[in-house]
């Protein structure tokens, strides 16, 4: 998911066009909707909540567009940060209910047996991810799902690079433990 200089420049141009004409924001929306929606879904396990938080994230993006300053960092990093903050705010909102996964994963074209095994593993893993402490879950998803480096995750989460390393390490260790217990 790493972007080349040319891709970053293209993204910069897209943002500039959207600043001048809000209708041009559509391209950014189309480009990032799936990423943000899936990221939020992996956090909370509910399509309804994922949709709400994704909508709020893009609303915020529209609001902040006039003040947005390009720093050569992918726009998705900023969107992930906003989505993460909104998720944290949502968690603090009482009453908090642990939501169960309500959507099957997209089917993969594989042999039936291995597809079934893979699906089972994926579902166990996603259940385990939802049980992780929020910070560990966020670091893990940004690293594995969004494909970010420690430094980038640190910028999104407002944490040091070292803290991110440790969060991911603990998340992976906890996942391993949880998967063992499930077996």
């Amino acid at each position: 998911m790493r972007k080349s200089e040319a891709e970053l420049e293209e993204e910069h141009q897209l943002i500039e066009s959207a600043r001048q004409d809000p209708a041009a924001f559509q391209k950014l929306y189309d480009r990032y909707f799936d990423q943000i929606y899936s990221y939020v879904y992996y956090h909370c396990g509910s399509r309804e909540q994922a949709e709400d938080i994704t909508a709020a994230t893009f609303q915020r993006a529209l609001e902040d567009l006039p003040n947005f300053r390009w720093r050569g960092v992918p726009y998705s990093a900023w969107l992930f940060r906003v989505a993460g903050n909104l998720l944290a705010r949502d968690r603090r909102r009482p009453p908090w209910l642990e939501l169960q996964a309500d959507a099957p994963l997209p089917a993969r074209e594989e042999e039936p047996d291995s597809a079934f095994l893979r699906k089972e593993q994926s579902e166990s893993l996603q259940r385990a991810i939802r049980k992780l402490p929020p910070d560990q879950r966020q670091a893990l998803l940004l690293r594995f799902y969004a494909g970010m480096r420690n430094r980038e995750v640190g910028q999104v989460m407002n944490r040091s690079e070292g803290a991110v390393k440790l969060l991911v390490f603990r998340a992976v260790s906890n996942l391993r433990q949880a998967l063992k217990e499930e077996q």
């Binding site: 998911m1 609303q59 567009l65 593993q121 594995f144 407002n158």
Partner: protein, 126 residues
């Protein structure tokens, strides 16, 4: 050990992200199994209905750009939250830094003890 493990794991994930090799290389029996599952278990979940619904919500939404003062306040709040995290939660310190700090502390303790002994020795002589 945790910090060294974190460094190791981080390098393996970086190699995997760069597409150079599988994430679990060199990690047999040490989290490699989880990395292997993780690397294929988080696909994007396309949801065209949700995408269309959110698009309609955004179209109906009249954006209210925020003032620089509001943005400044937001940044200040973020910094306070960040500071809170530093104080209340464990912040990672690389093991080399921790080891150097421990060594320095030990040297300082030894130096203080030696100076005290020397001071006591000089007092008894006089």
């Amino acid at each position: 050990m945790t910090h060294r493990g974190a460094d190791w794991l981080s390098e393996a994930i970086d190699r995997w992200l760069s597409g150079l090799e599988k994430a679990d290389q060199g990690y047999e029996g040490h989290l490699g199994d989880v990395l292997d599952i993780l690397s294929g278990s988080l696909p994007a979940i396309p949801d065209e209905t949700a995408k269309a619904r959110v698009r309609r919500r955004l179209a109906a939404y009249a954006a209210r750009p925020r003032s620089p003062q509001q943005l400044l306040m937001e940044r200040a709040t973020d910094n306070v939250v960040r500071l809170g995290r530093r104080v209340t939660e464990e912040e990672y310190v690389p093991w080399t830094t921790a080891a150097s700090a421990a060594a320095l502390l030990l040297i300082a303790v030894i130096a203080v003890a030696w100076l005290r002994r020397r001071g006591n020795g000089e007092r008894t002589q006089s």
